[in-house]
C-alpha cells in the first residue's frame, strides 16, 4: 500500500506521442478493493492511462506509485512489478502457439519458477474459476472469443496479482459472448480484487463500479460514484457523452 492508503497512485501524469498531448495532467488514486471504471470517447486517452499504470507506456512527466514504491523510478525492476499487476486486452493477445495450459503456465514456470506440477495445478484452479476447466489442452484458435478472453483473464489471475487492468475486454466480442466475460469480472470484483476497467458497458459500470471516471481529451472531466454520475452528471461534456451512449 502507498503512504496515503491507496494501492495505485498517479501524480501529474502527462504523456506526449510526438506532438500529440494524450494525457494532460492526471491525478488518480485507487484504493485496495476499489473498482474504478473509466469511460470516455474514443481517442480520449483511456488506454494510454491504463497502460501507464503498469508502465507499458512510460509517462513523459509525472509519477506512478504502486504498492508503496514509485515505479516511475528508473531503478525499479518493472518485470517484478508487473507480476503483481494483471492486464487483459481488447484483442485477448493469447499466445497462439501454446495451448491454454501453456499460455497460463508460461510465466508461472519462467517468472515465478514454480514446478510443472504446481503451475498446472494453479492453472486448473484459475480455469475452474473462469469456467473453462475442460479446455486446458485446446489451442486458442479452437476457442470462441468469449472463451479466449476468459483464458486471458485466467492467465493474468494465475500470477495472483494485487490489481487487474481491463482495457475494453468485451469490445471485440460478439454480443452474445459479452455476458460470460462480464460475469467473470463481476465475480472478481465481489471477491475484492482491485480493478481499473475501461469499458463501454454502461450497465456493468453502474452495477459493479465503486467509482466512475469520465475522461475527455486527456483529462479527467468527472470523477465520482457511478450511480450518481449516471443519474445526474455535473459536467456538460459528461452529459453529452452519456446522452450518446445510453
Amino acid at each position: 500500500m502507498n503512504s496515503d492508503g491507496s494501492l495505485i497512485r498517479l501524480e501529474g501524469i502527462h504523456k506526449w506521442f510526438g506532438d500529440n498531448h494524450v494525457l494532460r495532467g492526471i491525478d488518480l488514486s485507487i484504493t485496495p478493493g476499489g473498482v474504478v471504471v473509466v469511460i470516455g470517447p474514443s481517442g480520449s486517452g483511456k488506454s494510454t492511462l491504463l497502460r501507464t499504470i503498469n508502465m507499458l507506456e512510460e509517462p513523459t512527466e509525472g509519477k506512478v506509485f504502486f504498492d508503496g514504491a514509485e515505479i516511475t523510478d528508473i531503478r525499479t525492476d518493472l518485470d517484478e512489478v508487473r507480476t503483481h499487476m494483471g492486464m487483459v486486452f481488447q484483442q485477448f493477445n493469447l499466445f497462439p502457439h501454446l495451448t491454454v495450459m501453456g499460455n497460463i503456465t508460461l510465466a508461472l514456470l519462467k517468472v515465478l519458477k514454480l514446478t510443472k506440477e504446481q503451475a498446472e495445478e494453479r492453472a486448473r484452479e484459475e480455469l475452474n474459476h473462469v469456467g473453462l476447466a475442460e479446455k486446458d489442452f485446446a489451442y486458442p484458435s479452437q476457442l470462441s472469443g468469449g472463451q479466449q478472453q476468459r483464458v486471458a483473464i485466467a492467465r493474468a489471475l494465475a500470477m495472483r496479482p494485487k490489481a487487474m487492468l481491463f482495457d475494453e475486454v468485451t469490445s471485440a466480442l460478439d454480443p452474445e459472448l459479452v455476458g460470460e466475460v462480464l460475469q467473470v469480472m463481476r465475480r472478481l470484483a465481489s471477491e475484492g480484487m482491485t480493478m481499473a476497467v475501461v469499458t463501454h458497458e454502461m450497465g456493468f459500470a453502474r452495477e459493479v463500479g465503486t467509482r466512475l471516471i469520465f475522461m475527455d481529451h486527456g483529462t479527467i472531466v468527472e470523477d465520482g460514484d457511478p450511480r450518481q454520475i449516471f443519474a445526474d452528471p455535473q459536467q456538460e461534456r459528461t452529459k453529452a457523452f452519456l446522452r450518446q451512449v445510453l
Binding site: 518485470d79 494483471g86 493477445n93 497462439p96 510465466a107 489451442y139
Partner: protein, 440 residues
C-alpha cells in the same frame, strides 16, 4: 414441426467429375477439343516419325574420335530434313487455326463445361505452334555442331567421379553406411519425439533423410577429384557452412536492428546495407584477392569463401527475420511483458517461436539462392579438390573443349536445388493451411 422442415437433411456436394463435363458439351465444343488434341498428336507423332526414319544416334566405332564420327549425325540430318519442315509448317497452320477458332467462339458456348473445353483446346493448340516454330528456327542453324558440342552426354558420365563398375563394387559398403545413418537419425529423433511427446512423423522424415544422407556420403567417399560429384560435394559444403553462419548471425542482426537504441541499431543497419548494397562477387573478390592476402590473415581460400557467403547471407536473412518478427502483433510482446516475462524471455518463448514458423519458407528460399551463389567463389582460384560445380564445369570444358561440361554443372545444381524447391513448396503449403495444424 416447422423446425424439422426448416432444417433440411445434410447432403453430399454435387459430383462434377469428367463425366459431368462430358455430358454438358455441344457438338462444336466437343469437335474443337478433339481438334486441339489432334493437332498435338500430329505434331509430336509426325516429328518423332521423321526423326526416327533418319535415326536418333549413330554408334561410333570404339576408337573413333568425335571429329571422325562427324559431320553427319543422323539426328541432325533428321532435324534439317525437308520432311520435318513440312510437318512443322502444317502443325503451325493447323494449330493457329484451332487456337483462333477457340478465341472467337468460346463466349458463345452455352455451358461452363463447353466453354472450358473450347478454352483448353485453344490453349493446347498453341503449344505445337510454338514448338514447331522453334524447331523451324533450329533448321536453319548448325544443329549438327550444336549436338556434337553440347549433347555429348557421355562426358557427364565419364566425369561424374564414380565409374559404374566401382559403384557396383562399393554398393554394399555404401548401403551399409546409408543404413547406419538412417538408424541413428531415426533413433535420435525417436528419443526426442518421445521426450517431447510429439507425433511419429518426424521419425520417418529423419529416417529417410538419414538413409539419403548416408548414401550420398558413401558415394562421395569413393568419388575422385576433379569430378561433378566432388563439385556437388563442395557446393553443398560451401552453402551448408555458409547457411549455418548466415542464419545464426542473421537472427542476432535482426534483433539489433529492432533495438530502440541507435547505438545498437546503426551498426547493424550499416552492416546489412553494405552487404545488400554491393555485389556478392565483389565481396568475394575483395576478401579473397584483396583483404585477406594483403593483411596476411592466413585464411585459406575455402574458408574465405564460406565466410563471405555466410556474412552475405546474414544480411539477407536478417531482413527476413525482422519482417517475420514485426509481422507479429505488438500485443503478443505486450501480453508477455505484462505477465512479468523479461524482454529476452518474451523473445525466446513468445516471439521467436511464432516468428520462426513464418520465416522458414523465405529462409529456405534464401538458402536455394545461396546454393546457386556458391558459383561465384569460382573467381577465388580454389584447388582442384575444393572446386565447386561451376569451377569443375569450367575445368572440364577447358581440358576437353566439350561444352557438355556446362550441362553437367547445371545438372549438378538441379539435383541439389529441385528437392530444396520442393521442400519450400511443401512447407509453404503446410504453413498456409492454418497455424494450429502446423503447431500441433
Amino acid at each position: 414441426m416447422t423446425t424439422a422442415d426448416a432444417t433440411a437433411a445434410a447432403t453430399t456436394p454435387p459430383q462434377r467429375g469428367w463425366r459431368y463435363h462430358l455430358r454438358h458439351q455441344t457438338r462444336w465444343s466437343r469437335g474443337h477439343l478433339l481438334a486441339g488434341v489432334a493437332v498435338n498428336l500430329f505434331f509430336f507423332a509426325g516429328t518423332i516419325a521423321v526423326l526416327s526414319s533418319y535415326g536418333w544416334s549413330r554408334v561410333c566405332p570404339p576408337d573413333a574420335t568425335r571429329i571422325e564420327c562427324s559431320p553427319s549425325d543422323p539426328l541432325a540430318l533428321g532435324l534439317q530434313s525437308a520432311d520435318l519442315r513440312l510437318v512443322l509448317q502444317i502443325s503451325i497452320v493447323l494449330g493457329a487455326m484451332v487456337a483462333l477458332a477457340g478465341v472467337f467462339t468460346y463466349r458463345r458456348m452455352p455451358t461452363r463445361s463447353a466453354r472450358e473445353a473450347v478454352i483448353n483446346a485453344a490453349v493446347l493448340a498453341t503449344q505445337p505452334v510454338f514448338l514447331a516454330a522453334l524447331l523451324l528456327w533450329f533448321q536453319g542453324t548448325d544443329v549438327d555442331r550444336f549436338a556434337r558440342n553440347f549433347l555429348n552426354l557421355s562426358l557427364i558420365g565419364r566425369k561424374a567421379g564414380v565409374a559404374w563398375d566401382d559403384f557396383m563394387a562399393e554398393l554394399p559398403t555404401i548401403l551399409g553406411t546409408s543404413l547406419v545413418w538412417g538408424t541413428v537419425a531415426a533413433g535420435l529423433t525417436a528419443a526426442y519425439v518421445y521426450w517431447r511427446k510429439l507425433g511419429r512423423r518426424p521419425i520417418v522424415i529423419a529416417a529417410i533423410a538419414g538413409l539419403a544422407g548416408g548414401f550420398i556420403w558413401g558415394v562421395v567417399q569413393i568419388a575422385k577429384a576433379p569430378s561433378f560429384i566432388k563439385g556437388m560435394q563442395n557446393t553443398l559444403v560451401l552453402s551448408g557452412a555458409g547457411a549455418a553462419l548466415g542464419f545464426g548471425l542473421g537472427l542476432v542482426l535482426a534483433l539489433f536492428t529492432m533495438s530502440k537504441r541507435a547505438v545498437v541499431r546503426t551498426p547493424a543497419r550499416i552492416y546489412i546495407n553494405f552487404f545488400r548494397g554491393t555485389p556478392l562477387i565483389w565481396q568475394i573478390s575483395f576478401a579473397g584477392i584483396g583483404l585477406v592476402p594483403a593483411l596476411r590473415l592466413g585464411l585459406d581460400m575455402y574458408t574465405i569463401a564460406i565466410l563471405v557467403l555466410g556474412l552475405n547471407l546474414a544480411a539477407y536473412s536478417a531482413e527476413v527475420y525482422r519482417a517475420g518478427i514485426q509481422s507479429l502483433e505488438r500485443g503478443q510482446i505486450e501480453a508477455a511483458r505484462t505477465v512479468g516475462l523479461t524482454y529476452f524471455q518474451s523473445m525466446r518463448y513468445v516471439v521467436v517461436p511464432q516468428a520462426i514458423r513464418r520465416v522458414i519458407p523465405p529462409l529456405l528460399n534464401e538458402f536455394v539462392i545461396l546454393i546457386k551463389d556458391t558459383a561465384l567463389v569460382s573467381v577465388l582460384g580454389l584447388t582442384v579438390a575444393e572446386k565447386e560445380l561451376l569451377g569443375i564445369g569450367r575445368d572440364i570444358y577447358q581440358s576437353t573443349f566439350d561444352a557438355t561440361a556446362w550441362l553437367g554443372s547445371a545438372l549438378g545444381y538441379l539435383i541439389i536445388t529441385i528437392p530444396m524447391i520442393r521442400i519450400v513448396t511443401i512447407v509453404e503449403r503446410r504453413m498456409r493451411s492454418g497455424l494450429t495444424s502446423v503447431i500441433g
